[in-house]
């Protein structure tokens, strides 16, 4: 990871106490999309917690990412209902068309592909979420259209 442009974060909304670390991490992730080494360094200085300790917290939670995500995030549901209705082939098709594996981001930074356990939209299986929008009963043809719409 290179941090050519280093951003100065402002954590002053929080008292420098350990209990506010996760909230501050969420702020960083909201603004940057991920937790960079530089952010951990600044958090470490502000909260007086070692970087390894912060890394331990960040790596514990699945919600935090260490890599800059793509501009669009596609989440493929692999819950039971979606699995039964063929979300496996949706994921395989996405992996093939995007040329990446789940958990990765396309080299041009356009799309990140994620797999989630259940979206709670079992009636719409198989379901995927693109950015914030849920698509239900997705077919391979529909998938192609969705991909074409991403810029």
């Amino acid at each position: 990871m290179n941090n050519t442009q280093s951003k100065k974060y402002d954590f002053s909304a929080y008292e420098p106490k350990r209990e506010y670390l996760v909230a501050a991490l969420q702020d960083v992730q909201d603004s940057e999309g991920y937790i960079s080494e530089d952010a951990v360094k600044q958090l470490s200085e502000y909260f007086g917690i070692s970087r390894s300790d912060i890394y331990s917290v960040v790596s514990f939670y699945a919600q935090f990412k260490f890599k800059k995500p793509g501009r669009h995030i596609i989440k493929v549901c692999k819950g039971t209902a979606c699995h039964v209705r063929g979300s496996g082939s949706l994921l395989a098709a996405l992996e093939e068309r995007l040329g990446i594996k789940e958990g990765e981001t396309t080299p041009d930074g356009l799309v990140s592909l994620e797999r989630v356990a259940c979206l709670g939209a079992c009636a719409l299986a198989p379901a995927i979420v693109v950015n914030e929008k849920v698509y239900g009963r997705v077919t391979l043809a529909q998938l192609q259209k969705i991909l074409e719409g991403l810029k």
Binding site: I49, S50, S52, D53, I54, Y55, S59, F60
Partner: protein, 793 residues
């Protein structure tokens, strides 16, 4: 302190209010097993071994996190608790290399191999440097009856050896968190390591999983000292094993003078430890890792020398002292005395008194200086001094030539000594009280005191010099003292190059530039490597059962290896190497395209196939390197029409290799593992014992213990053979190192062997002879970063 009373296992005990149940039990001398509890660290509750039952408390709470209360009734040793502990340990063992715990022959094996065998990586207790001091082993041996049901998972990527001083093998980690908590405590809440990720991926890690040398770790070594398993080890000292004594001392390497504990073994300093987990007692990398390495570094002076008729002649202390005294008396007013400011107080006082008495210039060199002050250098250049006493490597050879009567004191050889009149061989002050020093070595304080006494000087009241300002390396690893007595620290302890310390001795590029080309190199199992080398002559003459002596580089030891396979037409020969010590590690690190400096073979008497006839049955047994070594013999037997049964054994499933190759030459193929994780549980000797009578011949190749076990059943087959592996030097019958005894006869394994009558070999003698050089082998181990060939960035 308020007292409370509780009952543990029917025993009424008194405890302090505020104690945990575990503390109360331990203070009362009662035993509850535990791995993550540490008396200087706060309760953690990770290992789940200290579970207890308490009346009116639900479930089985961990005693280390449960406060003791008045009237509590606690049970620690019920069937349910013990079952629970066994299952907890079993889960722990599935992530730990546990084969030895499950092995039925563990006690016998450890009687033959009382110390763990050196190995590239630890794959079981038998190859773990921490065996003698392992808490996990102690707890497990008390709880297990060889019934671990889960196979161990091994991941080669969990071995991390890219950092200075510290070897880490997370295959041995049980995530007790002691290292993390120790680091946090020692560094005032800001630890350099933490447990990253979760579940099966959890691992002790620095931020972003980087090398520990990257930023936060200060290399105080506290984590290593507290690690209850063999996961974290001091690369340099690990194979010395557990110390036989600890001596309190003070670190002499910088003006900070930290209290240290010297770890001693057989009168030798094998390591340095902090005195407690208090932040004040923490050590810097130099004290923790450097001191023992400096004291044991190569190039120590064994005895004093004195110039006689233009030649340096070995001398003794009395004579050297008399010469030094003469020089002082004869050159009064024209003398320089120089010693480091970190020298012992009595040495400095005696030096001051001598300087006064003889009107000498006195310099206390800065603790990390590599030369004297500009002023002193100028004076020497201007030939101001007719005599000088310099303790340490502070002046160049050229400069020393300007001093007619130069007296040198140093622990190590230095170039200025060549133009000295008298050279004293230095002993460290610690070597006076604890370490076995050589007769001719003398501590600086002893020397200067003796000199002062010779002139009846009273030096007790002399003032001590002001010590230069210094930055503590406890909180900043770049502040580690660069030099000691004028010698660069990184020259003596090469891992400090990774800290950016200056050095003059670049690491040697030992890689052979020509010789026998490596055509293919691959790792078969942890510590086992296969290499194919280009050696047309060897390929042309090789016969089954023969071996060759290989050397990775010109300075490698000559080690014999069985020729596994060869191809005359293509001109290659294949070997399987087991990584044990330095030379085999050097061979194991070779990659395709590299060269072996030397390969001489084929050597030894080929396997005698003349007694074998088609239709006969042979049992071939291989363990460790022997798994591959039985291959060429089995192939030839099969060609002759002999029915081959190949039995191979390994400690555990992940240590098996060569199975598909062996199947091609086996009519029957049997896999044995000592922990029962693949095939049947046990070793080849079990197969021999049960079925030996079916066979016309049996051949055993493996470690001494495996062959010794097989030898007990040698009478079951008309022919029984083994391939012996003693220490070998020339391989042609000249040196006698490979002498073995067979029923009273003396044979040489290199020319008479390697195959001998299994039933006649004196295996106890063989085991003893094989370990004759074990201490020297440890000294030769590759113990610095990039010590094989590749130089540090």
């Amino acid at each position: 302190m308020e007292k409370i009373h509780l009952t543990i296992d029917g025993v009424q005990i008194e405890a302090n209010k505020g104690d945990t149940v575990l503390q109360a039990a331990r203070n009362a001398g009662l035993f509850i097993p535990s791995l993550c509890a540490h008396k200087e660290l706060s309760p953690y509750g990770a290992c789940r071994l200290c579970v207890v039952e308490i009346d009116n408390v639900r479930g089985t709470p961990t005693s280390c996190t449960t406060p003791a209360a008045d009237g509590m009734v606690v049970r620690t040793n019920t069937d349910q608790l013990n079952t629970q502990r066994r299952r907890t340990l079993e889960l722990m063992m599935s992530g730990h290399t546990s084969a030895c715990f499950n092995c039925d022959s563990r006690e016998d094996c450890e009687a033959v191999k009382p110390t763990p065998a050196k190995a590239g990586v630890s794959t079981r207790c038998g190859t773990c440097s921490n065996r003698s001091d392992c808490s996990l082993r102690k707890v497990s041996l008390g709880n297990f009856t060889r019934d671990i049901g889960l196979p161990p998972i091994y991941d080669p990527s969990k071995v991390e050896r890219e950092d200075p001083f510290i070897d880490r093998d997370h295959n041995l980690c049980i995530l007790c968190g002691i290292c993390v908590r120790t680091c946090e405590k020692v560094h005032n809440g800001k630890g350099a390591i933490a447990i990253a990720n979760r579940g099966a991926k959890a691992r002790v890690s620095s931020a972003f999983g980087k090398e520990w040398n990257f930023e936060e770790c200060l290399f105080c070594g506290a984590c290593i000292d507290e690690c209850p398993t063999g996961c974290l080890t001091d690369r340099w000292s690990r194979w010395f094993g557990k110390e036989d004594g600890v001596v309190e001392s003070v670190c002499p390497l910088c003006p900070e003078k930290c209290k240290i504990n010297l770890r001693m073994k057989n009168g030798r300093l094998i390591g340095v430890e902090k005195t407690s987990l208090n932040p004040d007692a923490q050590l810097c990398a130099l004290g923790r890792f450097g001191y023992a390495q400096i004291l044991n570094a190569q190039g120590r002076m064994p005895r004093p020398y004195a110039m006689k008729d233009g030649e340096m002649i070995p001398s003794d202390f009395g004579e050297a002292l008399a010469r030094a005294a003469e020089i002082f008396e004869a050159n009064a007013g024209k003398i320089l005395i120089a010693l480091p400011e970190t020298a012992a107080d009595s040495a400095k006082k005696a030096a001051s008194a001598l300087a006064k008495k003889f009107g000498a210039d006195l310099e206390f060199a800065k603790f990390d200086a590599t030369s004297l002050s500009e002023n002193s250098v100028k004076n020497i250049e201007n030939k101001k001094y007719a005599a000088a006493f310099v303790a340490g490597d502070y002046i160049t050879e050229g400069l020393a030539q300007n001093i007619a009567n130069f007296i040198s004191f140093d622990f190590f050889r230095n170039k200025a000594q060549r133009s000295a009149q008298v050279v004293f061989a230095g002993a460290f002050e610690d070597e006076l009280k604890t370490v076995k020093k050589l007769e001719g070595q003398v501590a600086l304080s002893t020397l200067l005191e003796a000199l002062a006494q010779k002139f009846s000087l009273d030096f007790g009241g002399e003032n001590l010099p002001q010590i230069s300002a210094f930055k503590s390396a406890k909180t900043d690893k770049s502040a580690v003292a660069h030099a000691f007595f004028g010698h660069l620290v990184a020259d003596m302890v090469p891992d400090f190059k990774a800290f950016g310390l200056p050095f003059t001795r670049d690491c040697e590029d030992k890689k052979a530039k020509s010789g026998y080309e490596v055509l293919e190199a691959k790792t078969l199992a942890p510590n086992f490597h296969s290499i194919k080398i280009k050696a047309p002559d060897m390929a042309k003459y090789a016969k089954p059962g023969q071996f060759a002596i290989l050397m990775a580089n010109e300075k490698s030891e000559r080690s014999p290896f069985t020729i596994i396979d060869w191809n005359e037409k293509e001109g290659w020969v294949q070997f399987v190497l087991e990584e044990v010590g330095r030379s085999s590690a050097e061979l194991g690190m070779l990659k395709k395209g590299d060269f072996l400096a030397a390969a001489s073979g084929p050597l030894g008497t080929p396997f005698d196939f003349s007694p074998f006839k088609a239709g006969q049955k042979a049992l071939l047994m291989g363990g460790c390197y022997g798994i591959a070594a039985v291959y060429p013999v089995a192939r030839k037997l099969k060609e002759l029409g002999v029915k081959t049964t190949i039995a191979i054994e390994a400690s555990t499933a992940f240590m098996l290799f060569f199975e598909s190759e062996l199947k091609t030459v086996a009519d029957e193929f049997i896999v044995m593992t000592r922990d029962g994780t693949k095939g049947s549980k046990g070793g080849c000797s079990n197969v021999y014992e049960a079925r030996g009578a079916e066979f016309d011949a049996a051949v055993a190749v493996g470690c001494v213990f495996m062959m010794m076990q097989c030898s007990r059943h040698a009478s079951k087959t008309p022919i029984s053979l083994c391939s012996l592996n003693p220490i070998m030097v020339d391989g042609t019958g000249m040196c006698g190192a490979c002498r073995v005894s067979l029923g009273g006869d003396t044979k040489f394994a290199c020319v008479d062997g390697p195959f001998f009558d299994l039933g006649k070999v004196d295996f106890n003698e063989l085991a003893k002879r094989r370990t004759a050089y074990s201490l020297l082998e440890i000294d030769a181990m590759p113990r610095h970063l990039h010590s094989n060939g590749g130089c540090h960035k």
